[in-house]
Symmetry: C2
Subunit: 132 residues, 2 copies
DNA sequence: TATCTGTACTATAGAACATAGTACGGTTAG
DNA sequence: CTAACCGTACTATGTTCTATAGTACAGATA
């Protein structure tokens, strides 16, 4: 379902958190669906149960899952989560725009460039794009 | 010139790097202007010379300053740096937009919201803004 | 009852971060 | 030349975060 990059500088538990956030927000996991058990997921990802537990605690703290002692961890409803995620994205972009303003850069032109790059970056067309 | 938040989870050397990046890009420090010495800045920021040195090494690695043994560290020309920074901003925003696309969110509406929020966030007007 | 589940500990090891101290070589003002 | 500054390169120490390992306990369920 998700995969871990052990070469990544980001901690394993954080990769697990982000992986499941994405799965839940994207609707791959449905409401009240059961998460893998701490021990099973640890085996599957070749990591330690404690690391998985730490990730699940963080997911619960942020409202993505809820846990029932003795039964397992379950997915929360994604509706509110998606709205929350949208607000985070707006917030992140506006922070970057404020940074741009401080450097006297044209925010609107910046957004046009970013929008085009995001559309080019998704596919592999090279319409006006530069090779990286 | 810059200030350090010791409560911040970010490492001190990273805060120094970011602080000087901002000063250089904003043109507060001019080309070939001399940076504070490693030892003096350490005293000024109530930190250790080694921590400042680590920050300066990073700034040099990223092309913001150059060092002359026995004389000091000096600011590089900001023109190319500003263009590089602009590309980074475009890249950061486009990554967020790709994330939004994956969640079937309306990118253009997202950008309009972010643009408005960035303009509201700069000043303290409350035109359509929510109290945090 | 046996086996699964989450949860809570302790202990250990490694990496990153920060501090402290020392040392060496280049630059510059006196 | 000398003294005082500069960058640079080490070693050593302590703290925190991350990850692993092992143990233990309580709830749920077949």
């Amino acid at each position: 379902m998700i995969c871990i990059n052990f070469q990544d500088s980001r901690p394993i538990y954080e990769q697990i958190v982000d992986g499941y956030k994405h799965l839940i927000l994207a609707g791959v996991l449905e409401q009240d669906e059961r998460m893998p058990s701490v021990r099973n997921l640890a085996v599957e990802l070749s990591t330690n149960p404690n690391t998985v537990q730490k990730a699940f605690m963080e997911l619960e703290r942020e409202g993505f899952i809820y846990s029932v002692r003795g039964r397992g961890n379950f997915v929360n409803s994604s509706g509110q989560l998606l709205e929350k995620k949208r607000e985070e994205l707006v917030d992140d972009i506006s922070k970057l725009l404020i940074e741009a303003e401080e450097l006297s850069l044209d925010s609107e032109q910046l957004l046009r460039d970013a929008l085009q790059k995001s559309k080019v970056g998704c596919c592999d067309s090279d319409v006006g794009g530069k090779m990286q």
